[in-house]
């Protein structure tokens, strides 16, 4: 048997968190081994809607989101790959049936200004003139011009390839079966018998993250959800911002954007059943139908457009919809960044950068208190 491959850091999970962390760790000069059970960015990171959205996040999260968006703006040069980040704006709207949400959005806009997020409140003629495609039910909108969208299929693999060019070891189809701390090092075993060793272990395994944390005595109430996604045939390019509905009702919570190629990508309404153990989601046709009904409330004209594909992916959720991010509370050298509750795509590059900073320097300006791994423990 060969000796375990050694590096400064082992990352388990090759989604956007893991691959961007690998990239930024290499930029800080640490040696990195990235292990992915399937293919880089194939799960939630590659199947999500592609929103690069800051508004609507808890205010305490905006510092992290701002750190991320600075990276998004540089991504093409940084990664030597056009990941199709287009800063064409992001808009949230509320319906006339829920007028109280307009006031909530207004308050949020006032609060977010202190976190360098400028939002423009639109309603009435102003809203109709600028966005004439919106349905009659739309009452008001909160528009963020300096957000946008990107291609999720390309981003994580681009980070992983860039990390590889900087010397990171990236192993796909390498399912981790065992992790243990032996002395100062973590020893990680893969299903195919390979072993890896490093003094630092970072778990970025999304909806599968809890099983690794549990092995170190940190059980987490992580559940999985699978959003409902679809894409239409291409149309002339017209819809520049990404648009989503603000509502407490899952059924009517839908979102839409247009890629430059012309296709409308949309998602939301009811979640699909997911089976993380089998890497499988059932895209329920009734959920597709619900999405198609709801999206016509937002933009009635899409009723005449045809859907060509539906899909889903598996996302990890904790009860407060905030991730676990930061050091383990039980084991030194162990770090977590998972459970981003379907809202991790925009944050991804910022999370990778923050985790690299934390691991390399032992500190970060980002307040990690809301993301502590022990926040669900009794007492």
């Amino acid at each position: 048997m060969t000796a375990p491959a050694s590096s400064d850091v082992i990352i388990v999970g090759g989604g956007i968190m893991g691959s961007s962390a690998a990239f930024f760790l290499r930029r800080r000069g640490l040696s990195v081994t990235l292990l992915e059970s399937d293919l880089i960015g194939r799960q939630a990171s590659g199947t999500n809607f592609g929103n690069v959205r800051r508004q609507g996040r808890p205010l305490y999260q905006l510092a992290l989101a701002n750190r991320a968006i600075a990276i998004w703006r540089e991504a093409e040069a940084l990664l030597d790959c056009d990941v199709e980040y287009r800063q064409f704006g992001h808009m949230r709207v509320c319906y006339r049936t829920r007028p109280e949400l307009a006031a909530t959005m207004e308050q949020y806009a006032a609060d977010a200004r202190q976190s360098d997020l400028d939002l423009e409140m639109l309603s009435g003629n102003m809203l109709r003139t600028r966005f004439p495609f919106l349905g009659e039910e739309v009452l008001a909108a909160s528009y963020s011009p300096l957000c946008g969208h990107a291609n999720p299929r390309l981003v994580s693999p681009a980070f992983a390839r860039a990390a590889q060019r900087l010397g990171a070891m990236v192993h796909e189809r390498c399912a981790v079966t065992e992790t243990a701390k032996m002395g100062d090092d973590f020893v990680v075993a893969a299903a195919d018998g390979r072993q890896f060793r490093a003094p630092v272990l970072l778990i970025t395994a999304g909806a599968w993250g809890d099983r690794f944390a549990a092995a170190f005595g940190e059980p987490l109430p992580l559940t999985s959800r699978a959003p409902n996604m679809c894409v239409t045939e291409p149309l002339p390019y017209a819809l520049r911002p990404s648009v989503g509905v603000v509502t407490p009702d899952t059924e009517e919570s839908v979102y839409i954007r247009q890629v430059e190629r012309g296709n409308l990508v949309m998602g939301g309404s009811f979640y699909n059943p997911s089976y993380p153990d089998r890497y499988r989601v059932d895209v329920r046709p009734e959920n597709s139908l619900s999405l198609w009904r709801q999206i016509q409330r937002l933009i009635p004209a899409v009723g005449r457009v045809s859907v060509i594909r539906t899909w889903s992916g598996i996302e990890g959720y904790l009860p407060d919809s905030a991730p676990v991010m930061g050091p383990s509370m039980t084991t030194s050298g162990l770090y977590y960044a998972f459970g981003f509750a379907g809202a991790g795509f925009q944050l991804g590059p910022g999370v990778g950068d923050t985790m690299a900073e934390l691991i390399a320097t032992g500190r970060t300006d980002i307040d990690l208190a809301p993301y502590r791994a022990d926040r669900f423990s009794a007492g």
Binding site: L39, G46, T97, E137, R153, L154, P157, R161, T232, E233, P234, R261, D282, V283, R284, P285, E286, S288, L289, S290, W292, R293, Q294, I295, Q296, R297, V302, G303, R304, V305, S306, V307, I308, R309, T310, W311
Partner: protein
Amino acid sequence: MADPVVAIIGAGPAGVRAAAALVAAGVRPVVIDEAMRAGGQIYRRQPDGFTRSYTDLYGSEADRAKAVHDCFDALHGHVDYRPQTLAWNISDRRIFTAGPDGQQVLPFDALLLCTGATDRLMPVSGWHWAGCYSLGGAQIALKAQACAIGRRTVFMGSGPLLYLVAAQYAKAGAEVAAVLDTSSMSASVAALPRLLAQPATLRVGVGLLRDLRRAGVPIHRGITPVEIHGDADRGVSGVTVRTSRGDALTIDCDAAAMGHHLRPETQLAELAGCDFAFDAMVRQWLPVRDADGRSSQPGVYLAGDGARILGAVAAEAAGELAALTILADRGYRVSDTARQDARQAVARARRFAEGLARAYPWPHEQTSALGDATILCRCEAITVGDLRRTIAETGAEEANRAKAFSRIGMGRCQGRYCGLAAAELIAGAVGTPVEAVGRLRAAAPVKPIAIGSAGRCDR
């Protein structure tokens, strides 16, 4: 006990014969079909008001076509027939359909998929110009609409449809500029013993060849396609191939029909959860089924060219056999003789199909010779060079990975027309067997479906 809900998707020869066998046993099946009238693609009926005779429409197959049509017409009132209806997804033993009555959900006890086939296409430089059709498309234009795809048409590719459609065009009075066959005469000779498994079908093929020669149509075998000439304003203007002797041959034309035999439409089988296996003879992934038509999913059955290309004659037998299997599996008493006869007909067709695969091999090696500028995925305008570059830059060696990075197979057809060639191209570029490349995963809807078909929210 309530009668079981038995659903048949597809009203071609397999679906029609299956429906008849079920009705004969006292079951009232649901028959879901995309077309306006039953018959499938091969026995597609002309629209109301068209008056061509069966012989004009179906030639040597006129009697069979009439028998299938008459069989289905006689079932009127005994089947729950849903024409112009797309089965767009299958989930949790329910069929989701979109048709004249909007969206409907049909829970089933047994489902027979008779989803038929479409052309297997090999890209060639210029195949995106207007006037370039698949052989099947060219045939449908003639059969359903009494139209030719051009004034002067070149037929190029291989397989039985190549000669059939060319002969039908010649007979209808359209000018057939040439038949350009990628397969060689020696391959046909080597395949003869297997082709003799269905002597009548073989005789039909020989007859087509004779008709084409009598009509003075030039036939070239063993050719290699080089380019379809054309431009955006006028469409196709000619075809250049390399002959078996290595000379360049250019033929002027204003339309080209091409194809290399057929490929099964398997997306619904995949959405229904059926297992698939790679078949080395046809170099395709096919749904696994037993000799009686059972898939790997309990209650889901497969018949006809939608499961494996065995032709229309075999589809009738396989449809009946699958229906009898459904009945037997549900405790009905069925005739062993009828099942045995149907099994033998399917087995003969299978031997014949092996002969066809040898006589008209899929020229997969041509993908390596395609120039970088050739469009591979016509829906998304992805070139051969785009895919080669993606593979080189990203290391994508698997079909779905290459799709995710390059958009190949991401358009309206969802890879149904470019997926097989793309897989061959990846295999050639990476140096792996094509089965290691895998296949594009099927995702609903199986064909584009309007968002408005879901209806609107009442508020």
